[in-house]
Structure formats: C-alpha cells, structure tokens
Symmetry: C2
C-alpha cells in the first residue's frame, strides 16, 4: 500500500488556504445536519468489504463487469434497507446512491437496478390509477419484482411521436396485444432491461377500434418470476458494450403477439374502456413535472461529477512538478503554470455554479408546481425553456471541463485508474439522454421566439426573459461596464441581440417563400446559439444571486473565497463571449485588456485556495476512485500499485510469447 | 448477416453526387498507381481470416485484448514479408499498417510491435555509429529481437531534461551501470515495453568521472532471448488499462545496477571514450529532423482518423430519420436538420484540409532538410514553430470533431460498435504524446516573440511570418472583405494583433519587476491563443494553396466540390474568429450576417455531395469497423447483429440472477 504520509507539496497547499474547510463543506452540503448524515452514510457504505474489487473491473470482461455490478447493487439496496430499519432517512440515501457521487464510487460502471427506482417506480406512481398503484407499487418497492422503463427504440429516441411499437386492443378477449412491427421498433437502451428486470413499463402506440390514440404506458411481464426465463413472445437481451456505464445492462426488447390484460395499461390520465372506447386525458400538462425533475437532477449530477474531476486534477497538479519557470530554480508544481490554472479553476467555478443553479431551478420548480396545483400554468413554459437549455449547457460544459481536466493530467490522465475518463463516460452520456442537447436548445429557442413576439407587442414578460423589455426599449448599444451587474446586463443584451437577428432571419426566409418550419430549420444554427446565450446569461445571473445569498451568512473568509470563484466564472464567460460583446455592447479594446487582467487576477486569487476548495468538496478517496486524486497525494506510489494489479503482471512471461512471438522471431532467422 | 441490399436513402444520396467518386479517390490517395496499390494491399490484408474476431474484443478482458493484439501483429508482419518477397513496396506497407487506417482496422487497440518499427529501429539508425548499426539493425529489422524506446518516466514526460534514470560509467570494468534512483524515475509508457520487447533504447542521464553529461541513448537487453524472462536487475511490467490503445502494451521499467558494455551507448553524436572522457556532439540540430517527421505523420493521422469518423457519422445521418420539419410530411433524414450539417460538414472539411497541410508540411520539411545538408539552418526554427502548433491544433480540433461526430449519432454513437469512441481514443492520445499541446503552442509563441522583435527592427522575415511585416507597416485596421484572400489576410492580422498585445503585456510585466520568464508565464494564456491564431491563419492559407493546386488538374465537377469544401472551412474558421475579426479588422454587423449566410450557403452546396465525399475517402467497412458507418447503410440490422455477439446474450438467464438477484428479490418478501 502507498505510504500514509501526505505529499509535502499538497500539505503545504493545505496550509495556505484562507478559509476553514469545514465552513465550506457545511455550506456545500447544505448544513451541519446534512453533512453529518452524509459522512455517516459514507462510513456505513464505504467500509463494506463486499464493495472492494479484488481485481479492478477495468481489467475484466464485459460480462464480468455486469455480474459484479448486479452483485454490488443487491448489496447496496440491502444496506439501504438496513439503514431504513435503523430509522435513517431513505430518500437521501436513494439520491446519494442512485444519482449521486456515492453510488458512482461503489459501482463505477452504473447500477443495473437504478432504472427500477428512478423510472419504473415513478412511472407507476405518475401514470397508474390508485387501484393500479395498490396492485404494483408494494411489490416493486420491496423489489419482489424488478422493473424498467422502455420508451426509446432502435429507430427513435428524442422524437417520441415516431415510436413504432404497437399495443392493439382485442375487444373479444379484453386484452391488449403488443407487437414490434419492424426491426427499428425494437426497444433499445432501457437500463436493466437486458438480463436484470422481469417487468417493464412499455411505451407503445395504442390502437383500438382501428384507430390510433398516440403513445401510452403499459405494464408488461418480461421474465418468469421463478426461472427468469423470457416470457412467450418476448425477445430480449443486452445491447452490447458502450463507452461507459457497462454495469447498467441496457437492453433490447421485441414483442410478438404479447397479450396483457386491459388493466395493464396505466390509466391515471388517458383511459381505455372495456368496449375499446378511448378516453382522452383532461390535460397533458402534468407530464412536464417528471421531465423537469429529471433535468434538475441532471444539472446537479453534472456539478457533482465535475467536482470529482477537478478534485483529481487539482491535487495532481500540485503534486506533479514539471519544467522550470525561472531557469536556475527547481521544477515548479504544474499548477503554477498559468495555462494550467486556466484549465482547472474555471472548471472548479463551473462545478459550484452548476450546483447552485440546480438548487435555484429546484426552487423555481417547487414554486411553479405549487402554482400549478392552484391551476396557474403561466410560468410552466418559462420553466420548461430554462430547464431545457440548462440541461444542454451544463452537460456540454461539464463534459468539456472533465476532458480538460483529463488532458491537464497529461499521459497519466489517459490511464483508466485516473478515473477521469470514467467520469467523462458518465457526463458525456448526459449530453444525449433525456433529450439530445441540440434539440433541447432549439426547444428553448422556440420559446424565446414566442416571447420575442410578446415583448414586441409590449406584453408583460416572465422573470427569466424580462431583459428583452429593456433591450427593446433602448435604441443604443448596452454600455459596457465590467462590474458583475454590468457583465450580467451585457450577456443579457447579447442573448436579446441574437434573438432579434434570428427572428429577423426567420422572417426574411418566410418572405422568401419558406414555410415557418423550414425557416426555423434554416435559421437553426443561429437559434441554437441564441438559446445558449440566453442560458449563459441566466447562469451568470443566477450564480450571482445564489453566491450573494450564501455570502450573507458565510464567515468573511469563506465569503471572500466564494466571490473570487464567482468572479472567475463571470469573467471567463464574458471573455468567451467577447466577440458577441463587441457586437452588442460598447466594449472597447482597452476594456478587453482590462477584462483579461481581471480574469488573470481571479486565477491568482484562487491559486492559494485551490486545494482547500477541492478538499472542501469532501469527496472520499473511494468515491474519487483515482490514483491521481487521493487525499494523500501519493500519486506515483498509487499509479504503481494500480499497475501491479493488472492480471498481465501476475506472471513474468505472458503465454503470447510462446504461442505467437517466439515462433515469429525465430521464423525470420 | 445483414441483408446485402443498400439502404434506399443512402442509394439516393449516391445518385445525387455531382462528381465522379473515382476522380476524388484518385486525387485523395495520390494518383492511380497509389490507389491501385492501396486496394491490392487492402484486399490482401482484409481477406485474412486470422484477423476476424470470433468475439469482438470490446467484450473480452484486458489481458485477452493484449494476447489477441500480439497474435494479430505477428500475422501482420509475416504478411508484410510475404508482400516484400513478391516485390511489393515495403515502406508504404509499413506506413499503412503502423500509423495508417489499415492498421487501425486490423488491430483497433493498437499494435504492440509498432514502437519497434516506429521508434526502436529509427533510434538505432539515427543515433548509432556505423559499427553499432551493423551490429544491431540486421537483427532488429528481421525481428530476431524486438525493441522499444524508453524515454518518458513516471515523473517526467514533456520536460526531458528532468529525466532521472542514471547511466554511470564504471572505468574499472568499462561498463555503464543503469539505475532507477527513485520511484518517479521508473520508465513509464513506452509501447511494447510491458511483455513484448526484449531489447530497449533507454534514455538516461550519463555520468562519468563524477560529472553529469546530460541525457543519452543506451541499448539495454530487457529479457532473455530464449525464455523471455526479465534480465537480472530489471523490474518490468505493463502499466495497466487505458482509455484506448490497450493492445499497445505500454510498460514500466526499473533498473537496479544493470550493467551494459560501454559500446551499448549509441554514439553517432556524443561519445564516451574508454577512459571516461565525454566528447560533445558537433551540433544538436540534427535531432530536430525525427521530431519534425513524427509531427508530419501525426497531422496526417488526424486527417485519416477524422475521415473515418465523418464517414461513419455522415452515412448514419442519411439513414437515420428523426423528427419532422414540415408538420404534415414524413420524418426527415437527420442530415436535413441544418444543425446536423453544421456538425458534420466542417469536420469533413477539416479532415481534407489537415491532409493537405500535412502534405504541405512534408514538402517544407524536405526543402528544409535539403537546405540543412548544405549547412543552411535558417528555416529550421520556422519549420519547428509551425510543426509544433500544427500538431497541437490538428490534434485538438480532430479530437473535438470526432466527439462531435459521435454526439451527432445520438445514443447509438455511445455504443462501442459505432467505433466512434475507439477513434476518439486514438485521436485524443495524440493531444498528449509527442509534446503536450499547451507546451507546443507556447513553443510556437516563443518563436513568434523572437520574430516580432526582428520584424520591429525591420529585418527580413521567413515566409510563414511574412504577414507581420504588412501588419507593422499599416497603421489602420485590416479592411474586411469576405473573399478567400480577404479572409486569409484578416486571420493573419488577428494573429499579428494578438502577438503585439501579448508582447506589450510581457514588456509591461518586465517593467513591473518580473523576470522575463515569469513575464512569459503570466502572459501564457494570451501567448497560447496567439500561437493558435497563427496556426489557423496558416491552415486557411495553406489549405487554399493546396486546393487551388489540386483544382488545376481536377475535372471541373471535382474542382467545384473541392472549392465548396474549402470555402466552408474558411467561412467556419472566420465565423469562429468573429470576435477577433471585430477587434482587428473593419468587419461590421452586416458583414457578419453576410458571412453567416455564406457559411450556410456552403453547407447547402456540400449537402448533395456529402455521401459522395465520404465514399470517396475509400475506407473499407472492416477499417471503419462500425455498425453505423458501413457502406450498405443497414444500420439497425448491424447494430442488432453486434448486440447478438455479446457473451451475455449467449444464454437467456445470466448466472447473476441465481447468485444475487433472486435471493435479493425473495429476501424482501
């Protein structure tokens, strides 16, 4: 095992930190009680010997990764139950283990039971009648049955109207008959579907009395409860190896005349009567809720995964010494190269701002939901629009930032045991699932186009697009000023300016004979950029409000550090948008130089606190899962320990020498 | 097997192409003779049954990936020898199989014998005296011995002066004694070092008569030639699993008093006499050559790997139908969404421009080498500077473009059998090896700072920095004009303007008391951006020259298509630099709208030819290695076929059900 002393450079960094780590951590986790809970949960789970890999899973086969993931997942949920029996809060445990950092530390390749909890159970709750809930939820909650949620097909993802699986009502037998009419209609991707689940909520096109009634959810039994053999008419398996998440057991599923009782259609909303009459749901608004919730969780996940990556890369950058700055002095810590700071510190800042924005979005969500309950739907489209672009921007930025962290660790970052790539695998997946990022940006843009028309008519605007009013009422460029409120106003002007241009270009194209939809498609590069700009203005503003709110109660040293982090975020976003600022504000060449200096000043301000900040994220070594990022900083010892675990290193000569190499070398004599 | 008919949408695309594919392919491969050779080589290699995987290697263990890679690599070089015996050109075969596409199609995870050919043999040739060459090269060339090249250590990569391995001359025994004084001095990363090579060129710090003489190369035997057991004093193994290239067998190596004869120091340049006297080499310039050559090859590799990724993503985007544009019409091919074109077509253009620039760099290299032979060193620093930034920009852009292609394929792009991620693994590695990209950009920037001083003094400038002269002689902003020459001039002005600012900021920092080196470090964010801008201006200019040269002899339809591709590249680069153009040229808001229109026009021009272009890259299905990208476009059939190959799908119920899942499900009753 690596020595237990802490690397001297890292120790020295810790001594430099200007705030108390514990203050930061209490703030970050959300209070002392939550922190205590978190640590006790981590202790309970991370000390479990059943979670220690004899051989790291990146050395074993695809099949073994799955088998180990199933084993660990059953141990996890046994332990969750144990905690519940001790009276410890269940929901937080599930959150930490299913979507949070703790879960990713125990099963790096994803939990095959996750979809059961995250989608199957919520689908039963969200779409089942009280009778259906009574019938199914108890067994599902106790894990007597394991379910998954099958929506996506081989041929259709984002565009769910195009799903092809059919569910046809047979009035004679009062049954619904499921079929996969084409290869492209096979369900493809659901987690746990391959070999884990025995039940499933299937989304299919409902037909009755010869008519199509759109897509609806149906409960289908996939496998025998005793033998786990596939049920008649069910073709099922896993979809194969992926870039990451190979524990998740994504599966495929085909139906050939699979009959289910009519009562297996989840009928909280739409209904299918016994005679085949289809009854429309009263409103389709309610399904927004789950989608919103999932997006809040995704933004938070991005913050969490990114906090992991920056912890690893920051600690490593303090331990690693490479190249000299002044020629007659020793090699410097790589973190002292300014370009390295510029790779790491904005990523630290993003992690924090994303977390705060996810909190903010959560508050908005709760507010809107309570308005909804009173029948007030006004803010729903706004919330949906901001959630769409936040999901897109946070996943894209987090993916890029994690890769930047990996590349900042040079060759060693390329090693699987750095766990940077593993983290990327989780993050980049989120760019695609729950709505492709480009599609989501265009959804936000469509909302903005509608609001633009309202704004032009002088109608009242909801909070997140208020800035359009100011933009329309002013005939001049936004006056640049590099205070934080000035930067926020400038970024809002950029979004508004881009929206105006995109709108103009759509109108031009319509005048030139395009249909409105064609005009939108032909303007979609600009529209996606507009939604991106809208989102970034929101992030910078929301981050400011959340940080200032935090600073009110934080000790002064912590408040100073948080403001430094926020300022770096704001300057970095402004600097990246400098071309747009030149187009839509009065920013000048000397302003740009000053902004660059402020950005460099923010890097310098964070430098002494960098290790303190990432330490304060309070991520246990086992959750980091990285030879480069462990708390003690014994990077080289750990890399060597990891290499020694390779099955190839268990024997001095591999059999391939005798089988292939020696005959080859001798044949050329 | 998938059906043999071609997907109708793809067939239709092929009928739309405006030029003859064969004309493009002949141009792309470099003439009819080369194309004939390429196809005959591909036929010879790709029909070899020993290269067909029974189970795709992404399903097997790390150890098995290595064993299979060794097996295939010995088959490859046996077949190369067969071809040589038939009188077929050897060098092109080696190039295609070691660095090119063909090799990556046969061994996706990298060839464990590659470093033997790419670095061990060249090191013997480049650093060995004629006697040493006579002693070693024959055996190495025949593969009687397999070598590797061990430079990088656990603690040192880019900064080679910091290497710690010692080679101390023992005058009594006339031997050199190798030692690894620290853990961080262990050699780490050399390909083939783990369990494949039995010899090695080791780079170590030479000591004689108590003095250090810097780093030099030494031949060391690692393993017994008969038993392959490690030699006494040698600690050796592989470094473990990586993001990609797990066939390459990267290894570690430690020395404990390993004695080699003095004659094993490679002494073409520096010499160690029998009495321990060290004789300096006459000039250190010559080592530039190999480094340059490697960088030319890297730029070309990037073009090749990117051509693979865009072929996959473009074909898939024509087959995949998703979402409607006009509401009452059928779902469209995803390539008809403008945002999708904007993801794929610039990547196509980059692939082509990188290839042409690599050709251009190769010409420059040959010219400079011939000047070198006449003792003229003048253009060497220029060439070095342009090669550094081209390596950095081409690897970074290619990595990003490959990931964009993957994401453009949605969820299916995340599957290993798309081979998009595998391609990324190869490309992103090149951002780090052979010099970290940031370090390389800063090397180019240092060169530019020197040239800036020369330019200010009115001295003559070499061709790639000529534009500084014009910049200095003009007191006005560059007049914007959106012709190609106008764009080139504008991008050069951007580079010059950034260089001036960076230089000013360094001078300011020096006046404020920084050492010159500190001032450079504190300005390094701007310096890296300056080198990037210099490189992009070069790429746009060089691309233009190379395309125009090609168009002189190309049939008119092909010339038109090539110019469309080039124009997209130029407009895209200009649009990405629009903030800088606003700073340093007279570009106006209406100019920007016009540029955006031109860019969209270029996408539209390429649209009907997109499949034609990627078809013309002439990449065989086995080399693409992708379920999404095969020539026939039977995407869904192939995805399903690949899934069926999963070892998990060979049995209906996985053992984990009985071992873990069933007991878990029953325990909760």
């Amino acid at each position: 095992m690596p020595s237990t002393t802490v690397n001297q450079d890292l120790q020295h960094e810790r001594e430099k930190c200007s705030f108390k780590n514990e203050d930061f951590t209490v703030w970050w986790i959300g209070g002392e009680a939550k922190l205590k809970e978190k640590r006790s949960r981590e202790k309970f789970f991370l000390s479990e010997p059943e979670f220690f890999d004899k051989v790291p899973l990146h050395f074993v086969s695809h099949k073994e990764v799955y088998e180990e993931s199933v084993r660990k997942s059953t141990v996890i949920f046994r332990k969750v139950k144990q905690m519940q029996e001790q009276g410890k809060d269940g929901v937080d445990n599930y959150m930490a283990l299913l979507g949070g950092l703790l879960g990713s530390g125990i099963i790096k390749e994803g939990n095959p039971l996750a979809v059961h909890f995250v989608m199957f159970l919520p689908a039963l709750m969200g779409h089942g009648t009280p009778e259906q809930q009574a019938e199914w939820i108890g067994r599902a909650w106790n894990c007597e049955i394991i379910g998954t949620y099958a929506q996506t097909e081989l041929g259709h993802g984002t565009f769910i109207r195009g799903l092809e699986t059919t569910a046809t009502y047979d009035e004679r037998t009062k049954e619904i008959v499921l079929n996969s009419p084409t290869l492209s209609s096979y369900k493809w991707w659901p987690g746990g579907l391959g070999h884990t689940a025995n039940y499933c909520v299937v989304i299919a096109q409902l037909y009755s009395k010869g008519k199509n009634h759109g897509i609806h959810p149906f409960i289908v039994q996939l496998r025998d409860e005793e033998t786990h053999m596939p049920m008649p008419g069910i073709t099922i398996g896993e979809i194969g190896n992926k870039l990451g998440m190979n524990g998740v057991n994504n599966g495929f599923l085909g139906f050939k005349n699979v009959r289910i009782p009519r009562g297996n259609m989840l009928m909280k909303n739409a209904k299918l009567l016994e005679d085949g009459t289809f009854v429309k749901p009263p409103s389709s608004v309610l399904t927004y809720g789950t989608m919103m919730f999932v997006r809040v969780v995704i933004v938070r996940d991005m913050a969490n995964y990114l906090s992991k990556a920056v912890t690893i890369a920051t600690r490593y950058s303090c331990v690693r010494r490479q190249s000299v700055i002044n020629p007659d002095q020793p090699e410097v810590q790589v973190i002292d190269h300014l370009t390295q700071q510029y790779k790491l510190f904005p990523a630290i800042a993003k992690s924090i701002i994303f977390k705060l924005t996810s909190d903010n979005l959560w508050d908005m969500y709760n507010q809107v939901t309570s308005e909804l309950d009173k029948g007030d739907l006004e803010r729903l489209p706004e919330l949906h629009a901001i959630a769409c672009c936040l999901k897109a921007v946070s996943t894209a930025d987090a993916a890029q930032a994690v890769e930047t962290c990996r590349l900042a660790c040079g060759g060693h970052g390329y090693m699987t045991c750095s766990n940077l790539f593993g983290t990327y695998g989780m993050v980049t997946a989120a760019c695609t699932y729950e709505g492709d990022n480009t599609v989501l940006l265009l959804q936000t843009a469509r909302y903005l186009l509608k609001v633009w028309t309202q704004a032009q008519k002088g109608q009242e605007l909801v909070p997140t697009v208020q800035y359009l009013k100011k933009f329309l009422s002013s005939n001049q460029r936004q006056t640049w000023d590099d205070s934080v409120p000035g930067i926020i106003a400038a970024l809002q002007t950029v979004a508004a300016g881009k929206l105006r241009l995109a709108n103009d270009h759509i109108e031009q194209r319509k005048r030139a004979g395009c249909t409105p939809e064609e005009a939108v498609n032909l303007t979609s590069i600009e529209l996606a950029r507009t939604a991106d700009a809208h989102c970034r203005a929101f992030l910078v503003q929301s981050g400011y409000e959340m940080i200032e709110k935090s600073c009110k109660t934080a000790p002064p040293e912590l408040a100073r550090a948080l403001r430094d982090i926020y300022e770096l975020y704001a300057y970095d976003e402004a600097m990246k948008a400098v071309g747009d600022l030149l187009r839509f504000t009065t920013i000048s060449e000397s302003d740009i130089s000053r902004l660059q200096q402020k950005l460099e000043g923010a890097l310098a301000a964070i430098r002494p606190n960098a290790v303190g900040i990432v330490d304060s994220f309070d991520i246990p070594d086992m959750v980091l899962g990285s030879a480069l990022g462990a708390y003690d900083g014994n990077v080289y010892e750990r890399l060597f320990e990891e290499a020694k675990k390779s099955p190839l290193n268990q024997e001095p000569v591999n059999k391939s020498f005798h089988l292939y190499l020696k005959p080859f070398m001798k044949s050329n004599l």
